[in-house]
């Protein structure tokens, strides 16, 4: 492959080119009502080509390697119509080694092994409570071999793997779910998934309506991740900021969160679900402080958006071979000055609600941060104890206000999507019953 690309680069000498190739192999096993129902395997290969002509970038891609010459020609034509300013591609940098993101056991996993994970998950649910059923579960294993070659002499390759799972368990008229992601087999904690899903399903029986009131809200990191994905992440995306589509524009250096709150984006975390040595532009991964003691420090950039501000990319270029690099967070680490065990957090709450699952985060207004969630799995907290499951309640608020209302962090840190955070409690939130 590299020989073909080198030949093409020689033929188009004078036209800066970038090639991003990906060979992604993935397998999944799905279970419905306690039975493995289907499984699939897919191979997705392709190459994306970016060309710079007169300071403008055009793009093309192909899934057919034999049509790569055509793809380059098209990218050059597209560059002539494009108004995306780009003078250059990233230069060579010394890479940092990122550990724990490749597991040969995942890349070489046989279908039978993955089926076994799915069956084990069901058995562990039954161990927790024999009347709990799997309504739906999906277990996936994937591996990617990527390369990035550009006219500046960069020629990087990477191998990453990942496993992910979701389960929705049912018990009587109640359901409970769990999600899990890990870069290695060892990190893929089925016990945790089964215990959580069974516990939520069983304890969800006997839901009661509640009255509208301001109260302390305790949020699971899955819920926080879904809220952030639709509000905070787009708001720190430099492209959105530059286009005036972020309410954080112009707020660098300002206090926007609780004094004790730090938010860090880091692509270098060992075993992180979103870790990699280099990003989609070929910029090496780094650690970027987004919020330090509540003060907004930086947005996240790819090569193109950083160039617009005369800055260096933060290594947040994202995407596959079929499109130009966009911007996405890598691993987002939340830290807070005050951390307590979950029991201690609960015991300090007189009147509150613990939210494990909520629907509707994607309807949040990403600019203003306003959201309105339907609480799908929530428990009323009275005098320091979980009292009963709630029904038909909503949690309405604003994500940027939430950042200021942090009350305490739990000690159950785990990764959900991008977010590495524990359970978090927020004071004085509005619950609509």
């Amino acid at each position: 492959m590299i020989e073909v690309i080198e030949r093409i680069m020689r033929q188009h000498k004078g036209v800066p080119l970038e090639f991003f190739g990906s060979n992604h192999r993935s397998m999944s096993v799905e279970m419905k009502t306690d039975k493995v129902s289907s499984s699939d395997m897919s191979v997705t290969k392709g190459i994306g080509v970016k060309a710079i002509v007169a300071g403008r970038a055009g793009f093309s891609y192909t899934t057919d390697i034999s049509r790569l010459d055509d793809a380059v020609e098209i990218a050059i034509v597209n560059a002539k119509y494009s108004e995306l300013k780009q003078d250059s591609f990233p230069e060579m940098q010394k890479m940092k080694d990122v550990k724990g993101i490749y597991d040969p056991g995942i890349q070489g996993m046989a279908p039978e092994e993955l089926v076994n994970f799915s069956v084990q998950l069901r058995e562990k649910l039954k161990d927790a409570n024999k009347d709990v059923k799997v309504n739906h579960s999906v277990v996936e294993a994937g591996s990617s071999d990527n390369f990035l070659v550009n006219s500046n002499g960069i020629s990087y390759t990477s191998k990453t793997t990942g496993m992910s799972g979701m389960v929705e368990a049912v018990y009587k008229d109640s359901s409970g779910g769990a999600n899990m992601g890990a870069a290695t087999i060892k990190g893929f904690d089925i016990d945790h998934m089964a215990a959580r899903a069974a516990r939520l399903a069983v304890s969800g029986v006997g839901r009661k309506s509640i009255k509208s009131a301001e109260q302390t809200v305790v949020i699971d990191s899955d819920v926080l991740e879904s809220l952030f994905s639709n509000t905070l992440y787009p708001s720190i995306n430099a492209d959105m900021v530059q286009k005036g589509q972020s309410s954080l524009k112009g707020k660098i250096g300002q206090q926007i969160g609780s004094c004790g709150l730090d938010i860090i984006d880091s692509g270098l975390i060992a075993g992180g679900l979103c870790s990699s040595a280099f990003d989609r532009d070929g910029t090496r991964s780094q650690e970027t402080s987004i919020l330090s003691s509540g003060v907004l420090k930086s947005f996240i950039y790819n090569h193109v958006t950083a160039m617009r501000e005369g800055k260096k990319s933060t290594g947040n270029a994202s995407g596959g071979f079929g499109s130009m690099a966009s911007i996405a967070p890598t691993n987002v680490v939340l830290k807070y000055s005050e951390t307590k065990g979950l029991d201690k957090i609960l015991s300090g709450i007189k009147d509150g609600i613990f939210i494990y699952e909520a629907l509707g985060a994607h309807t949040a207004n990403h600019i203003t941060g306003d959201f309105s969630l339907s609480i799908n799995k929530g428990f009323k907290i009275i005098d320091g104890e979980i009292a009963y499951p709630v029904k038909n309640a909503m949690f309405a608020g604003n994500v940027f206000e939430l950042l200021k209302d942090v009350s305490c962090f739990g000690d159950d840190v785990r990764q959900s999507g991008h977010l590495i955070a524990p359970t978090v409690s927020f004071s004085r939130q509005k619950i609509v019953g």
């Binding site: 129902s37 289907s38 699939d40 897919s42 597209n78 286009k243 509707g360 600019i367």
Partner: protein, 462 residues
């Protein structure tokens, strides 16, 4: 390609498969995205993909690749997967409902072939939209216009002898406008998309679509936050359509109903009033969710889900229909050859009633009129749903009053179905969207008449 497909199907049958099908798509896709007047993304690419689904006793195996030379290897993997699941799991035999064996070449006729539309013309659609969206007011601060199209050669073949080829073309055109006044920013959008050729875009006029996006964003600058609580609501057809899709449509998908949906075991039950009539119809000409054949080679059709308050039918694929001893309703759809078909809606709507909109509003003392869809979600097992709307009006003493924005409604499906006490007399089935399910997107459309719902839980920030 024809012979490679046939030999792959023959090979898995020779190994003992009960059924297999192959879908392939070879497409040319163009995307142009303009942000704030500058074309920032100009992408053209070709995508090939082929997927094979193999049924062995009670288990499916599925595999896909975008390298045709790997088809026979991938077919073998699909068979191995099916067999290994069956071995470890001993699933009950899967019965597929009978389907007509169709051999057909669908040649679409378009007034303007997308292949003949020049890059210059595509760029013009964008520039006209931008000019119109920004020209309406200095308060419009940023506008994003995107255009994409694709044309493909698709093949469906199965081991029962079906062989359907088609040459679909698709375009979509989106305009997002942001209006700003002081610190306040509001966004809105409008769009146009069709499988019936580019002429629809020319007819609807890019400039008019863009103008509508900006006008909506400007309107939101004056909107207040809505109240919270339980109240009567008038749902605009777009919002009512989303309710039908999210709350009723998903729960009536037979794959959900076969596991645990709120409609499980309720066929024939009366779950609403006489005015509750809900239809899924893939055959309405030119709609976003329309198709001739689904991705199992079954003809798209009209299915009455609710009739006079009675749950009449689920939506089926061949597998779910086989499991329940009925015929497929032609709702087995896949996002692309890289996905297995699953039960999906097409064009879903609440059928019309007999009330005038004015009459419906006049009957509300304190309530809310909700319009502009912002996304929804439903738990088909528990029966709770929620979705957001872009804007609305308060209704006070039978009159539309203040403009409000960003509200959400939520509740339990069965309660809401019983609380519909007004159904409008005009049908609007135009709300085009993409429905996500099990990680797959499908183009759908939904709608209906204006609906009035009592005792709806409305969540606002006020």
């Amino acid at each position: 390609m024809d012979s490679q497909i046939k030999s792959a199907l023959d090979a898995v049958m020779a190994k003992g498969a009960k059924y297999a099908d192959i879908r392939s798509s070879d497409s040319r896709n163009t995307t142009i995205t303009q942000k704030n007047g500058k074309i920032e993304d100009m992408t053209t690419g070709n995508s090939f993909a082929v997927g094979i689904r193999v049924l062995y006793k009670g288990s499916w195996g599925f595999a896909s690749t975008n390298d045709i030379s790997e088809l026979s290897g991938v077919a073998d993997t699909a068979f191995r997967i099916a067999k290994s699941i069956q071995a470890s799991n001993n699933n009950k035999e899967i019965i597929l409902s009978d389907a007509k064996t169709i051999e057909k070449t669908i040649e679409s006729k378009y007034k303007t072939d997308i292949k003949d539309v020049s890059i210059d013309e595509r760029v013009r659609f964008i520039r006209e939209g931008y000019k119109s969206a920004t020209g309406v007011s200095p308060e419009i601060k940023s506008v994003q216009v995107s255009y994409s199209d694709s044309h493909a050669k698709k093949i469906f073949a199965n081991t029962e002898g079906a062989y359907i080829t088609s040459d679909p073309q698709y375009f979509r055109y989106y305009v997002f406008s942001n209006a700003r006044r002081g610190d306040r920013i509001e966004q809105s959008y409008d769009r146009c998309a069709s499988f019936s050729g580019i002429d629809e875009l020319i007819q609807r006029d890019p400039a008019k679509i863009a103008l509508s996006a900006s006008q909506k964003a400007l309107k939101l600058l004056d909107a207040e936050l809505p109240p919270s609580g339980t109240m009567s609501a008038i749902l605009h057809p777009e919002v009512g359509g989303v309710f039908v899709h999210e709350a009723v449509g998903h729960a009536s998908e037979a794959d959900h109903a076969l596991r645990a949906s709120i409609f499980t075991g309720k066929l024939g039950d009366t779950l609403g009033a006489e005015n509750l009539n809900i239809v899924d119809d893939a055959t309405i000409a030119g709609k976003h969710g329309s198709y001739k054949y689904d991705d199992e080679g079954v003809k798209g059709q009209r299915t009455q889900i609710f009739e006079k308050g009675v749950l009449k039918s689920y939506l089926h694929s061949r597998e779910s229909a086989g499991a329940m001893g009925v015929e497929s309703t032609g709702n087995g759809r896949a996002q692309s050859p890289e996905f297995m078909p699953i039960v999906r809606m097409s064009n879903t709507y609440f059928d019309k009633g007999d009330m005038e909109l004015d009459e419906m509003i006049a009957g509300v003392k304190r309530g809310i009129y909700m319009a502009g869809f912002k996304g929804g979600q439903v738990d088909t097992t528990g029966g709770t749903f929620t979705f957001g709307v872009e804007y609305g009006y308060l209704i006070e003493n039978g009159k539309k009053t203040k403009l409000v924005k960003d509200c959400a409604m939520s509740g339990h499906i069965l309660d809401v179905l019983k609380n519909i006490d007004g159904v409008g007399n005009k049908l609007h089935i135009d709300s085009l969207g993409y429905c996500g399910k099990d990680g797959q997107m499908a183009p759908v459309c939904d709608g209906g008449p204006y609906l009035r719902v009592n005792n709806l839980l409305v969540g606002g920030q006020k």
